[in-house]
Symmetry: C2
């Protein structure tokens, strides 16, 4: 017996869907949430993979998620689509809004998708990577709960406030990055707490504002941003564009609204889409080819592109299935409505 359990994509999909169904979540939400969770697991993004189901189930149990949410799409302006997620999970709202947004980008050259009133739980790369595979460049950002202190401060103001970007490549996986503007992801600290291991120095302060490597103390105190005042500035930008500009909650407000329930944060998200075909016209192909000069210069010196590890994990998962800790698998099975095959 190993400490890992291997699941096929079909196994993981069924497991996720059945767990979510058991919460009473609408079929369409179960499907949309499952799609991003399985994609994360298959890319070996453990903190956004099947592990995240624990948080989703808890979120539904708090009563804060609208289990039968019906996203409403509004054509706000020639370059802006708004989707009200109706207090459901973000994934279904994204799926409703992204088509009209791409249609606008193809005409206007660029367009924004503002998702409001959504419970966001996923990584952002599953939202931008597919756009790059369709030829678009895309930037996504979203606040979360106020867990992160600004540079020069010790008390939480910002969320982990991820920024993701994707760029299309003609004959390779897209260039994709997705990172928290906090020095680490909150999910990573939670995994350390579960594993009983220390976090690295420089990531967080405790409730008194003193540096700590204890994950539990960090979760009670404040995380720090990456890159000092520059990361802090970017995190503020995420609050302004992904919160204020779209008329949705700041991380401070979202945390207050949660009132200790520990549900996935309720707030908004902004996705900005650029259509290189409009920017470049007949010069599109030559320019996409020219971008390979950049990627080649990075790779040829032994440096890596962001997401490279993720794409390798995906190819491996498609061949060999994905592995999750046996302990997590057992916890997930507990969430099923009836005894199930333990794998």
């Amino acid at each position: 017996m190993t400490d890992l359990v291997t699941l096929s994509i079909e196994d993981a999909t069924t497991l996720s869907r059945d767990i979510l169904r058991a919460t009473g979540l609408s079929e369409r939400q179960c499907e949309a949430v499952t799609r991003v969770i399985v994609r994360a697991q298959q890319d070996d993004c453990h903190s956004h993979g099947l592990y995240r189901l624990l948080g989703c189930v808890h979120s539904v149990a708090t009563g804060r998620i609208n289990k039968s949410a019906e996203p409403r799409v509004v054509d706000l302006a020639p370059s802006i689509v708004k989707v009200d997620a109706d207090r459901g999970f973000s994934s279904l709202a994204y799926e409703h809004g992204i088509g009209p947004t791409l249609d606008k980008a193809r005409v206007q050259g660029m367009a924004a998708l503002a998702i409001n009133n959504c419970h966001h739980f996923s990584a952002l790369w599953p939202e931008v990577e597919p756009l790059a595979r369709q030829g678009f460049a895309a930037l996504a950002l979203t606040p979360s709960h106020s867990w992160v202190a600004p540079a020069g401060g010790t008390r939480p103001v910002f969320g982990t406030n991820p920024i993701a970007f994707a760029w299309p490549r003609a004959e390779a996986d897209p260039f994709v990055f997705d990172f928290a503007t906090s020095a680490t992801a909150r999910g990573e600290i939670e995994l350390h707490r579960r594993a009983g291991t220390d976090i690295a120095p420089g990531l967080a302060v405790d409730a008194s504002g003193d540096a700590t490597t204890d994950p539990a103390a960090a979760l009670e105190g404040a995380m720090l941003t990456f890159g000092g005042h520059k990361g802090s500035a970017l995190s503020a930008m995420v609050e302004l564009l992904g919160g204020i500009l779209i008329g949705d909650m700041l991380s401070l407000e979202s945390k207050a609204a949660d009132a200790g329930a520990g549900a996935t944060p309720l707030h908004g998200e902004l996705i900005v889409v650029f259509d290189p075909a409009v920017f470049l016209g007949g010069a599109l192909k030559d320019n996409l080819h020219r971008a390979e000069t950049l990627f080649g210069a990075i790779l040829s010196q032994g440096a890596r592109l962001p997401s490279q590890r993720r794409f390798e994990a995906r190819r491996n998962a498609l061949r060999n299935g994905m592995r999750i800790p046996r302990k997590l698998h057992a916890e997930l099975l507990q969430l099923l409505p009836e005894p199930a095959f333990a794998g």
Copy 2:
């Protein structure tokens, strides 16, 4: 005699204009370049202030700047304005293109200004801050010359690749940041070299790829990005959006095109403008007010907002003039066509 010379805004403006005129640069370019240089000096941004005139004069002397450049504005798509800077300095092209871009943003909700074929020498905040003072949010980015190694590498690929952002505040200076995605600005390393002082550790490697604090060795080797792989990812995004997307040069290409002449980089710039009035409609005022919760939470714990020091310097300069090193002032006077009042 102090080591500083105090100049009024009028003094600095006249000095800059006269120095640029002496190079044969067209009157309109002299005016546009002088505006941004004096604004930087007045905000005590030394590396982009009057010091930068040395670089501008050298750039014109290399013959690479089109002294009589006439920017051409193209209405590329409903949300895209392009300006061909005609190989002149960026400032005049920006001034031509920004009005039509704001007009588009007011209708579409957002718009992009792509400046091509420009010699860029200024900070980016002078381009985005005025937009926030008119009620817009704006994001600007531009490549430079390949001086910066990607995370995990040791050889230059990226430029210093600044990102700037500005957000309007109803009753305060806008929220504005502008930072190099390199760990420091190249201008700062040059100032250390001039001053004969070491740079901090972690900013650069020498030509062999080894860490260095010697500014001359750093200038020969490669600078590093801020924030490890996250800063490196952002820097790549600047190359893609501020280079490939707008059909203009990568930092690698711009450096190669310079061929050792040491002129200000010739390439492009992307500015993305969001109109909060379109995004928010009747809820604009309430949301701008709500953003003050964020700024208050930062300031109330003793942390600072980016640009705060700059705005304080500006207020001081408006009252008391600006101070530049006497040595720099003497160098600048040498660039005047005839003996001038030495201040």
